[in-house]
């Protein structure tokens, strides 16, 4: 363990170009998949949590089922869509970071919708009652629901980021773990473990945890600022 920690800090301090490249790809992929998932998922989750419509119960069950979608299944679906003979084969995106983002969005968007809708369902009752009583437009009521609960929604975003950065199954299927191209921290850890380089794999794991810690600290600070506002 001590050896792994030493190696992790050595890796970080040495500015190893491959490690920095892997870290860059990991952060880029996680950033875009979290951003896209949240841009789609937060408004949809808010609508689902704050509106009544026919079929809402079925839709909620579907979302909750998709929240448990196994990453390898998501990876397989995206692989089949983007493979040479698939419907999006001509885009030539397989084994690129772009398609890794697509696979992660398929995994994370239901999580964002499910978590935000559950939260909004209980938290926005008085917000909506008051805002609609003031005669505000639907758009403004939706904006107020999002804005009033931004601190809690940030925790949904963090959850999405956490799922994205720690995901391995889908990205290894559609990304292929190609060195200098689509290798991310988790697939690198998997590879080093398979090679029997446990210390190095653990060191990468510690680096991954450190990155997650820094992001969490930054997010916690943002949440606190949002609450204090």
């Amino acid at each position: 363990m001590e050896e792994s920690f030493r190696k992790a800090f050595e890796l970080l301090l040495s500015r190893d170009p491959e490690l920095l490249q892997i870290l860059g790809v990991t952060l880029r992929m996680s950033f875009f998949s979290t951003t896209i998932s949240c841009l789609i998922g937060l408004p949809l989750g808010t609508l689902l949590g704050t509106h009544r419509f026919p079929g809402k119960g079925v839709l909620k069950k579907l979302i909750h089922t998709l929240m448990g979608l196994p990453p390898v299944v998501a990876g397989l679906i995206v692989y089949m869509l983007f493979t040479h003979y698939g419907p999006f084969g001509r885009l030539n995106l397989l084994f690129t970071v772009d398609v890794m983002v697509v696979a992660q969005c398929l995994l994370i968007t239901p999580v964002v919708i499910g978590l935000s809708s559950s939260y909004m369902e209980t938290a926005t009752k008085h917000t909506i009652e008051t805002a609609k009583g003031m005669g505000l437009s639907r758009g403004r009521v939706l904006f107020l629901c999002l804005s009033e609960n931004r601190a809690s929604l940030l925790s949904v975003v963090l959850n999405a980021f956490g799922r994205s950065i720690a995901e391995v199954g889908a990205v290894s299927i559609v990304g292929g773990n190609i060195q200098w191209k689509t290798r991310v921290m988790t697939t690198a850890i998997m590879l080093e473990t398979n090679k029997g380089k446990f210390h190095f794999a653990l060191a990468l794991g510690i680096v991954l945890l450190l990155v997650a810690f820094v992001v969490n600290v930054a997010a916690s600070w943002t949440v606190r600022e949002a609450r204090d506002d």
């Binding site: 917000t127 009652e129 609609k132 009583g133 003031m134 005669g135 403004r140």
Partner: protein
């Protein structure tokens, strides 16, 4: 103007409101009174369009403004709350704040207000907008005597200026009697008595209404 015809609201097999007909002419102020769970809030929410009746038809003049029982304080200052969606009415907002003795709190965070202050701010937030129908669910429940008097004064002036119809629910006899020119006593979701406040006080329409009014200790 309000017109209700054969309105019924049920939750599964429990009827919480059943009104055959109810007409409230434009400009009238109606006070709804009755014990807890008698259907006051349900009726107000149906009129506000926040709840659909199970049966019957509801016609209410638009635009409608509705003050819920537990108004919410949005993020930001008191003034920001009042001007939400209507930023051009700063002058009117400041006048209302002064009338409700909240002007000194205009830059304070709305979430930090006391219950009574929040109720006064919530009312200012509504009255800065024009409406044909004003619905208030226990608007003075958290206010002390002075706060209640301030609110009733502001409401009277708003009604005179706009000519709007006003429906309010209350547990405070003084609020009902000093504000409304018509009183409805609800019991178990149905109208037990309907008429002018003095008429009802003098000669309640039913034994139940008589007993209810006797409990007011005016």
């Amino acid at each position: 103007m309000i017109e209700l015809s054969h309105v019924k609201k049920t939750y599964r097999d429990r009827t919480v409101l059943e009104i055959d007909t109810l007409t409230v002419p434009q400009g009238e102020t109606l006070a709804l009174v009755g014990p807890n769970g008698c259907g006051k809030t349900t009726l107000l929410r149906i009129l506000a369009g926040r709840l659909k009746s199970t049966e019957g038809s509801v016609k209410a003049a638009a635009p409608v403004l509705y003050l819920p029982q537990k108004p919410y304080a949005f993020r930001g200052t008191v003034l920001h709350n009042i001007l939400l969606g209507t930023h051009k009415k700063r002058g009117e907002a400041l006048r209302l704040l002064e009338e409700t003795d909240l002007l000194h709190l205009k830059d304070k965070k709305a979430a930090s207000l006391s219950g009574g202050e929040l109720q006064r701010m919530a009312l200012c937030r509504l009255l800065v907008r024009p409406c044909s129908l004003l619905l208030l669910d226990e608007p003075t429940s958290a206010c002390d005597a002075a706060g209640t008097e301030l609110l009733l004064g502001v409401l009277r002036r708003y009604r005179e200026a706009t000519g709007c119809t006003m429906v309010l629910s209350t547990h405070t006899p003084a609020v009902a009697l000093n504000t409304a020119n018509r009183l409805i006593i609800l019991n178990g979701g149905t109208i037990e008595a309907d008429g002018g406040p003095q008429t009802i006080l003098r000669a309640p329409e039913s034994d139940w209404a008589k007993q209810f009014i006797a409990g007011w200790r005016i």
